[in-house]
Amino acid sequence: MVDKQGEGARGQPANFAWSVPQGRRTDEWSLCVVRIAEYRDRAAFGKFFAHFAPLIKAFALSGSSLSAAHADELVQEVMLKVWQKAAGFNPEKAAASTWVYTIARNCRTDMFRRLQKFDTQLEAEDIGFELESDEPTMALHASRGAVRVRELLKDLPQDQAQILAKVYMEGKSHSETAAELGLPLGTVKSRVRLAIQKLQVFMDAGLQQ
């Protein structure tokens, strides 16, 4: 079930978010999370679920890193965290997709560790970094970074896209990626750097690549 309004927002021109004043995101998914936080709005949650649950499942299944049953379990864990942590979402700080991504990543890291029976009581959330600051660059970046990266991703050369998919979607370390693709570690590292350069990831704040 794809919501019509959602289609509209995604179909906007790439620079749509640039015109949002003061970096306040008004896109549908951010509003959804805000409604979940403020009103415990189950309808908004249902809409959010319909959009993101299939994407989280794809994330879990990519590269067969998890079984279908574990992928469903991950979807449940992530969506429950969305419900639980919605109040911590700040639409001026990050795009909803970025926020959901960080939750999914942490849940997956913990699930990987559980499955490998690593004996650590340390959870990804304990280590992870929650960006919570009012640094001016943040607001500026939140309003456009995610949208632009998504546009630029389409034009990424195949060899770089493949490596980013291994790293971000399949959750493979650089060395695992190198081993699976039969490439030297240095090649993987430099393709990752080329990709983030192409995607202008560090561009607007004048950050070095």
Binding site: F49, K57, D72, F129, V149, Y168, S173, L207
Partner: protein
């Protein structure tokens, strides 16, 4: 002023959740200090979000949705409180990140060097906190594997540079150095070793067994 940062590949591994636990602790502690790397991380997380949204949606059975809806009342809307009995390592990480290292389990190695092991952590042979007294020196040693170091307070210098609180550095296998704490205060560092370091000068070699500090 932070001048030594994690490499962008390291930030990518952090952002994609593929960096080992112990190394992630170093990176997140650096992030506490460094707004530049925080901005970079935010952007890399955006990349993760974009990859997620670009994925080919996989259909999710309505039973999964129903199961989640049934459980919504079970979860409290506030972030879950930490289980007080669990996670000594987790609280240790918080302590370290807040700079409170006084009650760690310190062992004196030389007059000016104390080391506290943080125990076994997957993906690293040894995670420890080093305390070098003001002006003190760590005997020259080499690394048989990569070592990641994060300066928590004070500073030190070695053959390659000067490092202050928040600075992040990586030594590769085979690098030999002899760090000296800067004047003006004790230096405390978090170090993650792939394999134990070895003192190279003969009159310090007897210390090597002392460095096998892995908590049992």
């Amino acid at each position: 002023m932070i001048t030594h940062h994690p490499h962008s590949n390291t930030l990518v591994e952090f952002s994609s959740g593929t960096l080992p636990v112990a190394h992630s602790v170093c990176v997140s502690t650096h992030l506490d200090h460094c707004s530049e790397c925080r901005s970079k991380l935010a952007k890399l997380d955006d990349l993760g979000g974009a990859m997620l949204e670009n994925g080919t949606a996989e259909s999710v059975s309505s039973s999964v949705f129903d199961a989640v809806m049934l459980r919504l009342d079970e979860v409290s809307p506030e972030p879950a409180a930490n289980d007080a009995t669990a996670a000594s390592l987790s609280s240790m990480v918080k302590k370290i990140r807040s700079g409170a290292t006084a009650d760690l389990n310190w062992r004196r190695v030389t007059k000016s060097l104390r080391i506290a092991s943080l125990g076994d952590v997957p993906g690293a042979s040894e995670v420890s906190v080093y305390h070098i007294s003001e002006g003190g020196k760590i005997p020259q040693h080499n690394h048989s594997g990569t070592e990641m170091t994060l300066v928590l307070s004070g500073g030190f210098s070695d053959e390659t540079g000067i490092y202050h609180a928040g600075d992040f550095l990586v030594r590769e296998a085979g690098d030999i150095h002899a760090p000296t704490a800067l004047p003006g205060g004790d230096c405390i560092c978090l170090a993650v070793l792939e394999s134990p370091l070895k003192f190279t000068r003969w009159h310090y070699r007897w210390l090597n067994p002392l460095l096998q500090l892995r908590a049992g």
